[in-house]
Amino acid sequence: MTDAAITFDRVTKAFGTVRAVDEVSFDLPRGALVTLLGPSGCGKTTTLRLVAGLELPTEGRITIEGRDVTRLAAAERRIAMVFQSYALFPHMNVLENVAYGLVVNGARKAAAETDALAMLKTLGLEGLGQRLPSELSGGQQQRVAVARALVLRPQVLLFDEPLSNLDARLRRRVREDIRDLQKRLGLSVVYVTHDQQEALAVSDLVCVMRAGKIAQMGTPNELYEDPADSFIADFMGEANVLDGEVLGPDRIALGGVALATRMRAHPAGPAQLAVRPESITLLAEGEGLPGRIQRAAFLGQTREYEVETAVGTLFVVAPAAAPAFAGGEAVRCRMERVIPLRPPRG
């Protein structure tokens, strides 16, 4: 209990017959940034709203910093949330927006504005206090929304797709800002996104959801390098999923060809194997799965190939510095690393 900022204990949220969140349990460590990732409609937003108290669970128990908040209304939990639409109050100026939480919690107006001004400064928004939200750029609005949440010194800060209204370049910068701030202030953050790159870039932990359940939770590295099943392997970046056989530690067979590789321990026998496109090295000759180049494309930093082999067409990404091949050439594919998969659950 001591180290967890948020715990879910078999929490279910049903809307009529739809179980948007289905018996989910997890502990989120204090001071970490956790992303909720998953396809549309998998229950990310609902999970976040359950933490915030904007939905109350149908079953199960939720604690925040050791306090049971299952039946507490949003106003009584010490959380703050940044909405996808930012939800800035259009009839209040920036300063009033940021001071709002302090004022409704009983702070004196002057004290609230001093705090709010300090927070605006932290986020580089000096001088914008008197503007209306409608008079700010998208990025500024986003930072006002963050300032408004942070000024309350929340135990937990929640973000629901905070960057989806921004353009690609701004998105990258703002997500770095959020990460910096989170580390500096030691905040516990839950962050919803459906962009897997964003998730990999900012998180301490990634929690992949599917159909209201948690498919896998781990560090970005674990999820990328060691996905539990083909759903996650596919979701966390591209993967060639092949039918093969595990022969022993670091030994597999693909299409009858025995190959040496690196892999996590897996019982011997037939298995599904996932291979990342950049884990395949193409050689003119030597040990490897024989194949023929079907298509080749030069993308500047990398080259992409489609290679026809006995186990299907492989998608391969090679660094531009590696030897180049042309369509029709015969090659050997060396599997640097493969990921033996468990079949998807459910």
């Binding site: 507490l72 939800a87 709002y100 008079e135």
Partner: protein, 735 residues
């Protein structure tokens, strides 16, 4: 707000009501307080201890058992729900069971014996009931309902209780009155009354006798609906597609029915077409057309109703016609269709839903109209007037009135049900947004001519009617053609004397001041309650939300006459005795106009992204703060509009309140109707003119206020909260 806080406040409120305040109403005014804590001003606790109201012990006991847990800091949900509901039900049931004549529910005699008479409930009971509602709500919140927010729980429980008491209660009373014959339960009487020849006779087809009142009502409503829809359509076609410069004038005219009390047009018609009317006299002098009383009866009532309804039909059709994207018609034109073919195959089908809406509105308004048939009906009775005379006429027969009211209610609901069925099957989503690209197809020449032939004479006619109203109050006797100028009528009504200080000597002051006072009290309550209900319905998820919405909208569909009759029947005797007070007028206005506030509120809330409320909640603001600081400021235009509408509706209403006024609390409209019946047409017209100008001032003032509020928000739509509203709101709000 937490459940415990509410629970404690509710306990305090109920304890106050039980221990200190007089349990029964003070019929003799505050003077009776002298006898406190005895006599008629005794609080419940004194009545219980003296044994005078021993049957109310359960109320006290239920209240007492909630005290220990609440004082010790616990809010036991189940217990609070049960005790709250128990106190309310027991108090009201006992109030019904034992009335002014002692025991009314005779089947309880074995249990209660012969208890002494019991007058109506007073302040003490009110506080206990409010407290009990609070206990009930805090219990619900403690069990996790309403997002565990006790404030929301209290609002929902409170408004549901009020709606049950002041919308459903009276309806139920009417239903039961229809099955009683004097004091005897007689279900057969209902059947007999509802099927009486008075209602259904077809005698007029074969003989010179009148037909049943149901047929009269249906005929009038259908004709009104057809004619006003047609005229409205002609106006709309000419305004949108005819390229006439008078289009803004058409739109300005739509304000007229809003500010004209319903029978004023009827008076003007009498002045124009009555036996000694201006037009009649003119026809007689110049063309030897004999004077007659043709205006009294179906033609007159029909004319008056169409004059009132056509502008509203125009309003609906004008909007619909402008919303039809010209690109649809252009598409059809590029496919080689001729003008008339385009109109027939594209424009017309897309207009049909709005036509149906205009028709339905005309139909329902005609069913509910009371003022015009009363003034102009002559021998042509409709349900609303027949109901009135069954109550107020020589043969006072509440059972018959109730049965007729049920018939009227059934017709109204039937019309709404038909519309729901019809709209349910076809829903045009093609008509979305504004069609502001492309050039609308001009009207075919023949059609334009037809429109003009209807529209311009009708404009002339309307101008004549309102001209009569404007002039009539300032000439000696417009009814007999004496057109010399005078202040006489205005003075009779509104004379002010300064001699020994300030005195309002005019005969109309009493009713005018009462009207303004009642409307000014009712309007803010209506607006506030309506907006609150809209907020609950749109923003809170709770079981029974749809039911609450239906309950608030129901009073929209109940004709005023039915409301009036039902209020008289329900609130004439204990436990809730309100007839003869100003309070019953206020309550009647509040609950009749509530749907206006709720609709306005719902429309405004649809424009405000729900995440604003949620953001406020996550920052620690409770429902009260969120409402006060975020929702209400953003809804200011809707609130002002609701205020204006309920004020104006309260000033012009006549059908419901004609049953409820008293000598002490008379209303302007009822006073005017009385003057018409006494033949003092000029005085009535003078008074109406003053009313119309007051309301015009209110409406224009409000429009200006709202206009400014809109300007103030013009900068806002760029903010994400509002901009995303259409996209984001349905996702969560559509649950």
């Amino acid at each position: 707000m937490g459940a415990l806080t509410l629970g404690r406040a509710a306990l305090l409120c109920a304890a106050l009501g039980m221990l200190l305040l007089p349990w029964h109403g003070l019929e003799g005014g505050p003077a009776e307080l002298a006898a406190w804590p005895g006599g008629t001003a005794a609080p419940l606790v004194a009545l219980l201890l003296s044994g005078a109201r021993w049957w109310l012990w359960p109320v006290a006991l239920l209240l007492v058992i909630t005290a220990p847990p609440l004082l010790r800091g616990r809010a036991p949900g189940g217990l609070l729900v049960a005790t709250g509901a128990g106190i309310i039900l027991w108090t009201l049931a006992m109030g019904e069971a034992i009335g002014l004549r002692g025991l009314d529910w005779h089947w309880l005699a074995p249990l209660l014996g012969a208890p002494p008479p019991q007058p109506s409930l007073g302040w003490g009971a009110l506080f206990v009931l409010v407290g009990a509602t609070g206990l009930f709500a805090s219990g619900l919140a403690a069990r996790g309902a309403f997002g565990a927010d006790a404030f929301v729980a209290f609002l929902v429980a409170g408004s549901a209780f009020l709606l049950l008491l002041f919308v459903f209660g009276p309806l139920f009373t009417i239903l039961s009155a229809a099955v009683y014959e004097g004091d005897r339960f007689a279900p057969g009487a209902l059947v007999a009354r509802v099927t009486a020849p008075e209602a259904w006779s077809l005698a007029c087809l074969a003989t010179h006798e009148g037909c049943g009142v149901v047929w009269n009502t249906l005929l009038l409503a259908t004709l009104t609906a057809v004619l006003s829809t047609m005229i409205g359509l002609f106006f709309a076609l000419l305004a949108v597609r005819g390229g006439v410069r008078a289009a803004p004038l058409f739109r300005a005219m739509t304000i007229l029915p809003l500010i004209t009390p319903p029978f004023v047009v009827a008076m003007a018609l009498i002045v124009l077409f009555g036996r000694t009317g201006i037009v009649t006299t003119f026809m007689w002098d110049w063309f030897d057309i004999p004077r007659s009383r043709w205006i009294y009866g179906l033609p007159g009532v029909l004319l008056a109703q169409v004059l009132a309804q056509a502008p509203i039909a125009f309003l609906l059709l004008d909007g619909a016609l402008r919303a039809i994207s010209p690109s649809l018609e252009e598409a059809s034109a590029t496919m080689g269709a001729r003008r008339f073919t385009i109109f027939r195959t594209v424009t017309w089908p897309l207009l049909k839903p709005a036509l149906a809406a205009a028709f339905l509105l005309g139909f329902v308004e005609s069913l509910a109209d009371f003022g015009n048939p009363l003034v102009l009906g002559g021998d042509f009775d409709v349900l609303s007037t027949r109901i009135f005379f069954a109550i107020a006429g020589a043969r006072h027969d509440p059972g018959r009135a109730a049965a007729l009211a049920l018939l009227l209610l059934a017709l109204t609901f039937g019309a709404f049900a038909l519309q729901a069925l019809w709209l349910g099957r076809r829903r045009y989503t093609t008509v979305t947004g504004k069609g502001d690209s492309g050039i609308p197809a001009p009207l075919p020449a023949g059609l334009k001519l037809t429109c003009g032939l209807v529209v311009w004479p009708w404009m002339l006619f309307t101008a004549a009617v309102y001209g009569v109203i404007l002039v009539g109050g300032f000439v000696h006797d417009i009814g007999r053609g004496d057109m010399s100028f005078t202040w006489r009528h205005i003075l009779t009504a509104f004379e002010v004397e300064w001699r020994d200080g300030f005195a309002l000597r005019g005969s109309a002051w009493d009713s005018l001041l009462t009207t303004i006072e009642v409307a000014a009290i009712a309007a803010p309550i209506t607006a506030f309650l309506g907006i609150l209900l809209a907020w609950l319905i749109a923003r809170q998820d709770f079981r029974g939300r749809r039911t609450l919405e239906f309950m608030t909208m129901l009073s929209f569909a109940i004709p005023g006459t039915v409301v009036g009759v039902s209020y008289v029947m329900a609130f004439n005797v204990p436990p809730i005795e309100l007839t003869g007070t100003a309070l019953i007028l206020i309550l009647c206005f509040v609950f009749r106009n509530l749907p206006v506030g709720v609709r306005g509120g719902l429309a405004a809330l649809a424009q405000i992204d729900r995440s604003l409320d949620e953001a406020s909640a996550t920052m620690g603001a409770g429902a009260v703060d969120t409402l006060r600081r975020v929702v209400l400021p953003l809804m200011r235009p809707a609130i002002i509009t609701a205020l204006a509408f309920s004020f104006v509706h309260a000033m012009t209403a006549v059908s419901a309140v004609i049953f409820l006024v008293s000598a002490r609390h008379n209303l302007a409209t009822v006073y005017i109707v009385g003057r018409v019946e006494a033949g003092e047409m000029a005085l009535a017209i003078a008074y109406s003119t003053v009313l119309i100008f007051i309301m015009l001032a209110v409406v224009l003032g409000i429009e200006k206020g709202v206009g400014r509020a809109r300007l103030g928000r013009r900068a806002a739509p760029a903010s994400p909260g509002l901009r995303n509203a259409p996209a984001a709101a349905p996702v969560r709000a559509g649950a």
